[in-house]
């Protein structure tokens, strides 16, 4: 499937080209515009039709339920691609001034990129700011950019340690609580069976940023047009110190994440753990059927044994400025992520962001046969409350991710220290940001 990969690279380039001008427009005036939900309620009553771009599998059931509840609203559901593919289209539509949807799914990491140039509606004007108390702190922070609210959180991905219990039991390895123990487990497992690896990682920007996040790093900060990048802060150093040992000790599988080989390795035990977002159980159950009964969930290992986590993945639904009926679009978003839309989302295996749902006894006490009857949501909900605070992504994170392979990826490939790769990444990002009209400072 190298063909597909090459085309993605081209698509990323085109996206970057489209952004070159999109980012040139001035940042949105972020003066607080708070309003009430009256106009949203009125729009819902009046009815109409909106277009919704998403790739989440639960969308079909959600839209059907919404249309049943509000028969005078027609939602035109479009899957315009997963992740990057959709962003390319969204960016093109924004640049062209038309052709975009009213509501779009946007991952948290991509949100600033669309929010800062003023392409999205600040939902504070509809009084949605009062919903803050209903969401986990980390997801609410993710949808808030410069005090403006650019969406309501849907799924979240507080990280946890998914481990193959069969492997761990067979070789008498204890479930690691700290990263030092994780390192030991990696060595022990690989020594016991050289075909097995603690995890697979060939360099993934989403994983890298999440790991720096958990280690307490704050590599990116944005204030208006001023951006600060420091990929060599204390958090980044903490993480690379551990991960360098795994990479250089050849203790990591080089199977590419999300490839067919990767799914295979998750099923047959040759990849023994995954440190990833709380949405992973749904993927396990639908697509790693061979691993049923073998896997279990534990809190993410930490540096000092005290519980702390980070977010990995997850997305929000945002209203586009381009929308001809933003109040109705906002009403749909409210229903989707702060109303009856949450139930079908959870039912289809999604991991929510709403604290009431996360802490409901039915959710917490559910036992999962895939995980040997474990109450996995207890672990995952605890993780959602332990996410390190104060993280933000770059206003051009998608571009950053697209050039990660040329910089940090090389460290993985050559077995050199990740820190030097991070420095190269930083240099590229500083240059790019300055070209885009940001004032970027390093360090």
């Amino acid at each position: 499937m190298a063909l597909f990969r090459r085309h993605r690279a081209i698509a990323a380039l085109a996206l970057a080209a489209a952004l070159a001008t999109a980012c040139g427009s001035p940042a949105q005036d972020t003066a607080k515009a708070t309003g009430t939900q009256d106009s949203v309620d009125a729009a819902l009553k009046a009815g109409g039709s909106i277009t919704y771009w998403t790739w989440t599998p639960s969308a079909k059931a959600q839209v059907a339920a919404f249309e049943q509840e509000y028969p005078n609203v027609k939602v035109n559901l479009v899957n315009a691609g997963t992740g990057k593919d959709q962003y390319t289209k969204l960016q093109n539509a924004i640049k062209a001034g038309s052709g975009g949807p009213d509501v779009a799914q946007i991952e948290y990491q991509a949100l600033p990129q669309f929010a800062l140039p003023g392409s999205l509606v600040d939902l504070n004007q509809y009084g949605f700011g009062t919903f803050q108390k209903d969401y986990t702190a980390s997801t609410w922070t993710s949808v808030t950019v410069n005090n403006a609210l650019f969406g309501l959180p849907q799924d979240s991905g507080p990280m946890a340690l998914f481990y193959n219990k069969e492997d761990f039991d067979k070789y008498g390895i204890a479930v690691p609580k700290t990263w030092d123990e994780y390192l030991d487990a990696a060595k022990k497992l690989h020594a016991a069976d050289p075909t097995k690896f603690i995890t697979s990682d060939i360099g993934d920007p989403g994983f890298t940023t999440s790991m720096i996040w958990q280690a307490g790093g704050h590599p990116f900060s944005t204030d208006g047009r001023n951006v600060k990048i420091n990929l060599d802060d204390a958090g980044a150093q903490k993480w690379t110190k551990v991960w360098d040992q795994l990479v250089q000790g050849k203790l990591l599988s080089t199977v590419k994440g999300w490839s067919d080989d990767w799914y295979r390795a998750l099923g047959d035990g040759s990849i023994a753990t995954l440190v990833t977002g709380a949405w992973m159980p749904g993927v396990f159950k639908s697509s790693v059927t061979a691993g049923s009964g073998k896997w279990a969930v534990a809190p993410m290992p930490t540096y000092d044994g005290q519980p702390v986590s980070a977010e990995n993945g997850g997305s929000t639904q945002s209203v586009l400025k381009q929308s001809s009926n933003p109040a109705l679009a906002a009403a749909f978003v409210r229903w989707l992520n702060h109303g009856n839309g949450v139930k079908p989302f959870i039912a289809s295996g999604g991991f929510p962001s709403t604290t009431a749902d996360l802490n409901s006894p039915a959710f917490l006490d559910a036992t999962d046969p895939y995980f040997g009857g474990q109450q996995v949501n207890k672990v995952l909900t605890a993780a959602s409350g332990a996410v390190a605070k104060g993280w933000s992504y770059l206003p051009y994170q998608l571009y950053a991710n697209s050039v990660y392979g040329d910089t940090v990826g090389k460290s993985y490939l050559n077995g050199t220290d990740i820190g030097s790769g991070l420095k190269a990444w930083q240099a590229t990002l500083v240059d790019y940001g300055n070209q885009q009209g940001f004032t970027v400072s390093a360090g």
């Binding site: 639960s58 093109n92 099923g267 697509s287 993945g313 295996g349």
Partner: protein, 285 residues
């Protein structure tokens, strides 16, 4: 002894050709074998061996029914883009190439330069500007956004031009003129036949290019109902990534097999013309 009719055999060449054959056939074998596996088998058995069950027909059935049978719609879209886009490209390239080869007029050299220059610009580089242009015209997210750019084939035009220069003697056209035929009639009744091998070559190029076209429709279309097979299959492939991933590799692979079948058939049927087209002008008469 070797001669022109009995060329000497070269072991090295045979070995190189055998390697090349393997290089070409192994991915195809992988594709065909994989298409017979179920999704779990695909993820649990080695690439070039068969799975536990022979699921080819089941996979084909699933491919055509998954997501309310959208694959069939994509197949129809691809056919539409190929018939109208590649067909139109062939017609335009033939008419223009012939005209440029056989008529002398002012600005001919300039046209020649523009066409040659156009060959050098990769279509991918033009995709984003084309998108913005089409967006102004309100044509994005419609089939026309894929068809109109497909109509232009500078390479096809050049090929016909070169071919027509050699294949159609000026004397023949003179004779037709003396017999009283108009220029249009000369083109349609006399020279078109001569151009047939060239036209088939251009048509094949255009069909393959349109059939495999990925980037242009990816940018132009956001409604999956207008996707061609290439973009649609990639969407299925991308489903395997990230939160709420739903890998359907078995359908991506079976879909790929189904996608190449029509192309293979087109090549087998048109091979004869294709070969004679490629060697045109290689012998001085």
């Amino acid at each position: 002894m070797s001669s022109v009719l009995r060329p000497r055999r070269s072991r090295t060449l045979t070995a190189v050709m055998a390697l090349y054959l393997l290089y070409t056939l192994i991915p195809l074998a992988w594709l065909l074998i994989s298409a017979t596996k179920t999704q779990p088998d695909l993820l649990s058995t080695p690439g070039l061996s068969f799975g536990g069950v022979f699921a080819l027909f089941d996979n084909i059935g699933q491919t055509f029914t998954y997501n309310n049978g959208i694959f069939l719609r994509w197949l129809g879209n691809t056919l539409l883009y190929v018939v109208v886009g590649a067909g139109g490209a062939t017609v335009l390239a033939t008419a223009a190439g012939y005209g440029l080869a056989k008529y002398r007029f002012r600005g001919r050299q300039a046209v020649f330069a523009v066409v040659l220059g156009a060959i050098a610009v990769p279509g991918t580089a033009l995709a984003v500007p084309t998108f913005l242009l089409f967006s102004r015209l309100g044509l994005t997210d419609t089939p026309l956004a894929v068809i109109i750019p497909s109509l232009i084939s500078p390479f096809g035009l050049y090929l016909i031009w070169v071919y027509a220069t050699d294949a159609i003697p000026d004397e023949m056209m003179e004779a037709a003129r003396i017999d009283g035929a108009g220029e249009i009639r000369i083109f349609l009744a006399v020279t078109l036949r001569q151009l047939a091998p060239g036209i088939v070559t251009v048509a094949l190029f255009a069909v393959v290019a349109t059939w495999n076209n990925y980037f242009l429709p990816l940018i132009m279309l956001s409604d999956p109902n207008w996707y061609p097979l290439t973009v649609g299959l990639n969407q299925w492939n991308a489903q395997a990534i990230g939160a709420a991933a739903q890998p359907v590799y078995n359908l991506v692979i079976t879909g790929s097999v189904l996608t190449i079948v029509p192309l293979v058939i087109a090549f087998l049927f048109l091979q004869r013309f294709w070969q004679s087209g490629l060697t045109a002008g290689s012998v001085k008469q």
